[in-house]
């Protein structure tokens, strides 16, 4: 018996589930981990207005109790068989699921900062990623790995993004605003600390983002240096020394810092790797799924009955993810009702 399957239990998958269930369609939600929510759970407060992420997740707490929702946790889909309709999904446990439509909401994974060796992640303890920083912000307690309160923190933009040397030439969009958000939150927690942001460009694309940037300088005295980090090294006392160029002045800059926060970009999740040679669905050079077009079919794939929702097609903010999921839900509902979508 064929099912309506959503692969991925993050907010995109949850939003599509919510809307489909609302319309009376039974949904099978497949999630590879043991819990729902996906990547948003890594973020304590969301830009631009510091809304706690729990506020978003609240909307989905009733879902697991819904009788029409079949929830398959700890299940990873290894392969999709496109050779006949309805499609067949194969999980890593060997279970085969007959599915039509399929909504791919497999989301993203974070760039592994160990690949950017010269920044020192995994080598020097004081180097952390923005995900780890967010955890400390959630706990309202920022300390260096040696238990001291940092007197200086440097945020490095564009780690694993816009970088041919790690194979990700695209911009991950959200890291700049996240950096400013975290810089402000850090300053609130450590009013005496000096906070720096090392950027190449500041992508303040949202309506209120520029305002937040101004605020960061006005109210929180965040220092912005236009220069890309080249190397990190460590002193005997475990403080870090970073080297960048202050390009606006035109001289190399050396600075000691207690902590280095790497703004790691978003990458396509492991799920998309099986399509690297385009076995059925198209993947872009960037590794994310390519929707049917970039304008009015961003939730549709090249195959009838296969849809995308959320960051499986590229880096998106929480707001954009939910928006996209809502659009995909509409397409899916039209499809299920047999109408032109």
């Amino acid at each position: 018996m064929k099912k309506i399957v959503i692969i991925g239990g993050g907010i995109a998958g949850l939003e599509v589930s919510r809307l489909l269930l609302q319309e009376g369609f039974p949904v099978t939600l497949i999630e590879k981990s043991s819990h729902l929510g996906g990547n948003i759970r890594n973020y304590a407060y969301l830009f631009p207005d510091f809304t706690p992420s729990e506020e978003i997740l609240k909307n989905y707490t009733s879902l697991p109790g819904n009788a029409d929702l079949q929830l398959l946790l700890n299940t990873e889909i290894e392969k999709i068989d496109f050779s006949s309709r309805p499609y067949t999904l194969f999980s890593n446990d060997g279970i085969a699921i007959s599915a039509d439509p399929i909504i791919i909401a497999t989301g993203y994974q974070i760039f592994d900062a160990r690949l950017k060796e010269e920044f020192g992640y995994g080598i020097y303890d004081g180097v952390i990623t923005s995900v780890e920083m967010e955890k400390m912000i959630r706990e309202q307690h920022i300390v260096t790995p040696y238990g001291k309160a940092p007197r200086r923190i440097a945020f490095i933009h564009c780690v694993g993004s816009r970088d041919a040397k790690v194979g990700n030439t695209y911009c991950s969009r959200l890291c700049c605003i996240t950096a400013i958000k975290q810089a402000i939150e850090t300053k609130k927690l450590l009013p005496q600390a000096e906070i720096f942001c090392f950027y190449i460009d500041l992508r303040m694309y949202g309506l209120t983002f520029e305002e937040l940037y101004l605020n960061a300088q006005k109210e929180y005295n965040i220092q912005f240096v236009r220069g890309r980090l080249s190397e990190t090294s460590e002193m005997i006392d475990k403080r870090l020394i970073i080297k960048a160029e202050d390009t606006l002045i035109g001289r190399p800059l050396k600075m000691m810092t207690d902590m280095l926060v790497l703004m790691v970009g978003m990458e396509a999740s492991n799920f998309s790797k099986q399509f690297a040679y385009h076995n059925g669905l198209e993947i872009g050079e960037h590794g994310f799924f390519k929707p049917l077009n970039q304008f009015n079919a961003r939730g549709k794939s090249q195959k009838e009955g296969i849809y995308f929702a959320g960051t499986s097609i590229g880096p998106m903010s929480v707001a954009e993810t939910i928006e996209h999921a809502q659009a995909t839900a509409l397409s899916t509902i039209s499809y299920l009702k047999g109408k032109e979508n």
Partner: protein, 606 residues
Amino acid sequence: MIRDPNFQYPFLIGTIFLFAYLTIRVILWYIKLSKYDKLRFIHFWKTKSVWAAIRDSVADGLLHLSIFKKNPLLGYMHMSLAFGWFLLIVMGHLEVIADRHSLNFPFYYAVFYRYYQPHPDFAGAKVFGAVMDFLLLIILSGVALAIIKRIRKQIFGMKRTTRLKTFDKIALSSLWLIFPLRLLAESLSAAYYHNGSFMSNTLGEWFIQNVRVSAIYDLSWWLYSCSLGFFFIALPFSRYMHIPTEIVFIFLRHAGIMPKKYWNSYAQIQMYSCSRCGICLDACQLYEAGVSNVQSVYFLQFIRNNENVDKSLFGCIICGRCQEACPVHINLNDLRTALRIKASKPLTFSYEYTQKALQQKAGIIYFAGCMTHLTPQIKFSMRRIFDFLGEDVWFMDEDKSICCGAPLMLAGQYDSASQLIQKNTELIMASGAKTLILSCPICYKAFREDYVLPGISIKFHAVYLNEMIRQGRLPKINLGFKTIYHDPCALGRGSKIYDQPRYVIDSYSQRIRLKKEKAEALCCGAGLGAINLPIEAKNKVTFEAMSYFARFKPNALITACPLCKKTFARDRRIPVLDIAELTARAIDEYVNEQKKTVRETRLIES
């Protein structure tokens, strides 16, 4: 019955010209050798190396055994032409001696023997006749194969053949025509006189029945003579100059003459020794990357024809794969370097500004190298290893690093590099150290070949680690994953270090053997030898190499070069580790296990 005594003139003219040209050429080459090289050459004749030279001349020059070992069909093709023709000449002369019982005859007599001797009736004439026909048949089979190779090179297992210039094509055609024309002429003689053997007599029969032999008889011998004459005149200006030059090269090489860092007589001899066989083309990874004007055969061709070599000269990675594959064993890397030095001589660099790092005293110096600063895991791992071994090591270039000079030298800037070499040498000698350890094979090669550090042992870190394991100072422990080792160009082909890194890797992991390894290892594509190679070509080389590795499905790719590591890591398909990192992990694992054992012991005791 000699009816036309003039047809041998084209052949005579050609031969005399060739002989004169070669004599003058070889004399000039000899004169232009350096004083020491001349002495070496004179001394050589009194040594046993002469026999080695003769042996190599036969093995490589005639039999083409180097090619035969790798590709039997291709080897046979070259062998049949070279050795076949050699035997034809020798046997031909022996045939005439057997006939006339004296050495008193013009040398062209043997070449056109079947014309001049309609009735060979000396003892063994039939045997000789058969041998000559057989040899001609062998050569013709070689010519046939050569023609097929031009059309369908895949049959020979070659993906590419040399793009020949027009003149080379003409010379090639004349060479290929010589033997069919000889067959034609001898068959026509056999048609009249039955003085041939199984092949020529048979063909002669056919001719006499189907063709007016008298009309084309003289013409056929003229044509044969002309093709020979033309070929000999064309030879010095074509790829076939390699025939005599290769012998000279082999002898000079056995005399101990080495390639130098400038374009000299020996370099020119090597250039002429290139037969444009095209074997270096298949060895070059740049072909798949869409670059086809940089390979050694074309680069040598450009120099010989006095064309602009800039793009061709500086676009090569100097990975050494062509040098390994070359059946004539030409020192391709050295030739290229010599020309790079010449081409970039007008450019100058000045390093007076380099402030020396704070001088320290130490027993062991670790020189990380420029690239290693961008792969600090290697530095960090070396530190861990030195800590574990309890060695006090001075990280010479931790701050204010001065480049070892290798990238400058690869660009031909030896003079400029000497300034950096001097600064680094001062630092090293003043430290009192006895050992210098390098973790970058490019630096290692520079230190070994271009630095003079008396009393200091220069070790590559993989070799040092190998020693430490063998001495029992580093543990052997199975980390439980499958690895592949990539031989860096500078370490493998460049320094001939293949086994020590493997021993280290085998001590810690399960190493999967590759077919393209050691001297045949692939290049990562990022070599500093490539100055003006487009990034797209480099990326393609990296991609293809990784695709090859990925087939073996290892858990990790182990390499011994920071540049290789950074380059392969961007591909993302396989995690990349340096040998030092692997060792450091093993040390951590070992230490953890020791702690566990101690804890367990304490538990049992309590």
